[in-house]
Amino acid sequence: MDQDITGEIPHLVLSEDGNYYLQGGHNEASGKYVFPLMGGDKEFFEPVQLKREGTVWSFTVQRFRPKTPPYAGPDDFIPYLVAYVDLPGQLKVEARLVDIEEEKVEIGLPVELTVIPDINGSPGSVMHAFRPLEKSAA
């Protein structure tokens, strides 16, 4: 059998409409979602684009620099917001929260997927995050 059970399927994909999506897995029979979709999950889950909008389910501020390894960020540390974002009907994903002051974050805040420069600073590469949902002017 030709199956790669170790590799990760890309978790952040640029779709043809020009938007980034988080890619998870979905099992139609059980209705269950997973994120990220790992090689070992492929037997049970079909790749699926996760919703781009959700609400903050819980959050914290990471105030100390994580140890390296595994952390790949710069030595100069700036605290960052982390949240579980509830994607309705799918699952909750863990992600950075950006473009908001920490005092303004609250459970239930509507947010949308965005991308920010990758932690390791490699030019052009990005990582996922969520930001407050822009109120549509239309």
Binding site: E8, H11, G24, K32, Y33, V34, F35, P36, M38, G40, W57, S58, F59, T60, V61, Q62, R63, F64, P66, K67, P69, P70, Y71, A72, G73, Y80, V82, A83, Y84, D86, G89, Q90, L91, K92, V93, E94, R96, E102, I107, I119, N120, M127
Partner: protein, 381 residues
Amino acid sequence: MTDVGIIGVGIHPFGRTEGRSGIDMGIYAVREALSDCSLNWEDVQFAYGGSDASGNADTMVKQLGLSGVQFVNVKNGCATGGSALYAVASTIKAGEYDIGLAVGFDKHPRGAFNPLPEEWGLPDWYGAQGYMLTTQFFAMKIKRYMHDFNISDLSLGRISEKSFANAEHAEHAWRRDPVSLAEIMESPMVNDPLRKYMFCSPAEGGVALILASEKKAREIGAPFIKLDAAIMRTRPQGSFEVFAPSIDNDIDGSATRLASQAAFDLAGIGPEDFDLAQLQDTDAGTEIIHMAENGLCADGEQEQWLAEGKTLLNGQLPINTDGGCIACGEPIGASGLRQVYENVVQLRGQAGARQVQNDPRVAYSHVYGAPGVSAVTILRK
């Protein structure tokens, strides 16, 4: 099946001991436990033991004596001690041996643990981008819990205040200076809503327990604290566990709920019968959550319990009477057995200035850790 219980306990002080290895702390604890019940190493018929990061327990026979004893190593994460205890108890209950040893020890470097993603089946980016931190997980878990059940920040502080106050009277504890509620509430934020004085730290220590059948205990005239239940469980579908890049929409159940319920069923008693309890307190928030997950109170009742001091040493149900992980630190392999040690000392009435005042008959202990394991015990005098 024969009844099994604990006849000897020994502990190497928790915290930091320069120049002493983890396994030497285990050996120290074994000698203390043997001395506690006036037995020699040669009297021990079999042993289960382990550490998470400090080597193989069975190598301690070199120092304790090459008696040829059967000695099985256990490596089960935060449930290492609980799993060793389960194995010893089950063997004695089955009638195979009369006297056995459960031992756990560890020595961790300073600072937060730094597990690597590939060891946990996770992609590299999860660690690289700064998500792979237990403190972050526990902070988000309690943040949501406080939102759902109206728990105040002050309740978090009250947990820590109690831990340090109790530890002042526990010789084996690490941080034994009382810290005022004001100081706790003003200490630096680490992972909101959890502050510096609300976390336990990785540490060092060792604990040994000598178990025997009731018949054997009578024969040798050792004090017998009956082990009504020793249970270990892994996580069910839908639980919310550490190192989770995502969680199911329907959060339901936990390793703790499974383990505690199984213990209640086995012992035929429940939380209303407990006179004291030792609960996993990786941080102040987890003690609050675990009060409910173990069925000691309903979700949300913690706010009132803590305001009324119900879990203080002189309260209705004292919790973490030696200061728990917050004051003792957490050497993974030894932590669960420390709780059992403390319960034995309390049930014997030998806890000195930290002795609970309700003439305890039944004591409960509970550990929880990555990747969603829990081990609980019920002891009865």
